[in-house]
Amino acid sequence: MLNFALAGNPNSGKTTLFNALTGSTAHVGNWPGVTVDKKEGVYKKLDENVNIIDLPGIYSLSPYTPEEVISRNYILDENPDCIINIVDATNLERNLYLTTQLLEIDVPVVVALNMIDVVEKNNESIDAKTLEMKLGVPVVSISALKENNVDELMKKGYEAAKSKRKAHTILEDTNLFHLVNDCRIAFEAIKVNNPLFHAVKLVELDELETKDHPELVHIVEEFKSTFKDEVFGSDFEAIVADSRYKFISKEFANVKKTTVADEEKVNSVDSYSKSDKIDKVLTNKWAGIPIFLVILFLIFHLTFSENIFWLGKLINSDSFANSEFFAGTIWHEGGINSPGVILQSLLIGATDFLSSVVASWLSSSASWVSGLIVDGILAGIFAVLSFLPQILLLFLFFSILEDSGYMARIAFIMDRIFRRFGLSGRAFMPMIMGFGCSIPAMINTRTLADDKERTATIRVIPFFSCGAKLPILTAIAGGIVTYFGVGNADVITYSMYLLGVTIAVVSVLLMRNTSMRGKVPPFIMELPQYRMPGFKPLMLHLWDKLKHFIKKAFTIILASTIVIWFLQSFTANLRYIEQADPNEIADTEFEDLATENETYKNALLSEEDLEAFDDSGELQVSFSDVMTYYDEIEDEIEQGAFKENVLTPVLLASYDSYVEEINDKDYKDQNDSILAHFGTALTPFFTPMGFGSQLSESGWIFPVSAATGLIAKENVIATFQVLSQASSKVEIEEANTDEEKINAYITLYNIGLDEDGVNAAQATISSTGVNIAGLIAFIAFNMLTIPCFAAVATAKAELPDKKIGKTLVFWLLTSYVVSSMVYLIGTYVWTIAIFASLLAAAITFIVIYNKNHPVYE
């Protein structure tokens, strides 16, 4: 099978072309450094299949960055049958620099003039024939995004691959050509492949070349002693580079032409391209960052808000169709739901229906079976899946920002700020990828040449909350709003994301001023043109994300929920914990009264509409039917009488039975489970963070949920849901009077009926006694602590040797300190003075120390 390599500058469209040719779903980004490693695919439309290799984006074949070394080594050692050099037609001169280097290799080359549609849209054209003549290799105009002419390109490549090509260099007309020729002859003598390329590199005193062939360096040194250029002296590398650019300027100045008749319009100072006009606003020195923060907030608002654009006050029940579908799914009393929340509501409706069907199907089976399947597996999996719409929506928005070209601008804007903290804007790109997943973000740090910068970036990437942490943020934020009635879910979520970013910046500042002091590397980046993201690539990204998420949910998370259910359902001596079920107790008491107590039976019979008994006198309703009937009675007096005669006897009897059961010395509940023992042992460590020993007996739920997040962050909420569903719920309120007993039992009964688990989660929050500061500290801890095992493994692979240990300590320490600060300041506001003083002392010490111990490089 033939091998074709795709080589070109970053952002020239290599990966877009790769996807178009191979039908693959390789990730496409619009800023440099997205493709770090090689990708392979197969093109099947020619007489024989062709293997396509997508090389990293490079500006030249020098040995300064890992991508350049990878591409160079591949081309020279793997001998591809053809190199397809993708050239961005909107930026011809800059892209042709690499082309001139590729022509010096004895490999067939075909130049693909990509983005030709953008050139035509700008009222310009490129004379491909002239370009072909001057370069001496085939040139094909294509649009990789629209898949125009790509088959023609491959045909040309196939024809070129069938014939040998002799390398040539543009240095033929320069003063150095004689030296290049001498070196070429020397390389041919020692039978080195691609002698011309190696000769030019040797003349430049290329690092890799001089290392591989030290015996030939003397040829260059001897020539150097007698040569001097007016401008560059004897810096041959500079002379060669200058020669290339002069050649490109001279030979290709007239290749690009304008097609607009009115040239004055085109040449006018005010005729900026569309991208430039947009950049004047979006990359403005003062407005750039506020605009970015607004866009980011808008994204979160459209994904999480339950009162979109704060239109809540305009809503009343007459404004919209008064149907169950609209109410709750699309709007509620507080306002109109955002698209993310609407999609989530629809999915929750479907999963709730599924859970109730399964629960009714299993109602006659053993309690542990329905417990495992309904309260364990389904509760855990559906808790995680319910966030899928919002994760996908968030991912879609970020992909749009990325593919449109805006993300590259953010890196440019952020460079100005990041530089003060010891990072270049180039480090911002992997961090932004961290919003999707930490693993590819950490891999992407290979684009950072400086080791210290790379280590610092890898360490802070997990602070940019990935998609897996989103359920934690959303669920807890929603819990704070619902249970405590404070704030908006989208504002809390947005604030927590910003907290992660702030902690990342502070951490980098600390590292770069203490253990990792050094110069910030320069940052040069090409800003691509703005363009409308393609619908197909966006949908392909989402599809990939969806498949991966569902696969993870039904493998790792499913296995975890089964294990968690087992550990919290059995005691240490493997006795199944059969918890008191208030609904079951109420149903039993109701049946006993209805069948054995004549007075009660008569009371039921007097309610003709209830139809409690069938024709043969058999009871045909349950206690939940009775409760539903009670809610539907409109007349207050009738309702009061019904409550006294029908509900009260059952509720009082149920209350006594329930209390008797849970006070039985042999009674076990979730706090006696295996998991509770582990969790209780962990709680002291979490006390400074607000979810440790200060909570009630069932407070171990928080540390256990956090611990399961090490397997996969989605597990935190899945665990929380499993534990909430199966807990012995709220400890039944103490009651002395009949009225208090009735109210306490009704509360307990309704929690048991709660299908979507919201009441269960709220009951759990209530029973543990955690406060708002503790919940926010819980979110902060999960956001900042050690990420999932997969991310840790990736960090270990990407970090320099022996740094993973210190990195793990760094993550633990940061999450511990920040969460403790959040809880302490949130609960005891005066502690802010203590922390401020400590911070000021630390900063003073660091500044004085650095002044007395400068670092020289």
């Binding site: 495992l372 696969k551 089964i562």
Partner: protein, 60 residues
């Protein structure tokens, strides 16, 4: 014991053991575990394995 109980009793632990053992096996053999989205898809991971086996010498 009801049939559903027997089925659940067999399937649940088997599934957990299967997930755990396949994860450990992949880790030992250096195969993609599927945790990362880039290699999580079967098609991509098979290609990766094929490429690794073809270019094993380079990695060693």
């Amino acid at each position: 014991m009801q049939p559903i109980e027997i089925i659940v009793l067999i399937l649940a632990p088997s599934f957990v053991l299967f997930i755990l053992s396949s994860y450990i096996y992949k880790r030992i053999k250096g195969l993609p575990t599927g945790e990362c989205a880039d290699c999580g898809l079967k098609k991509a991971s098979k290609k990766l394995i094929k490429y690794y086996r073809k270019h094993k010498k380079e990695y060693n």
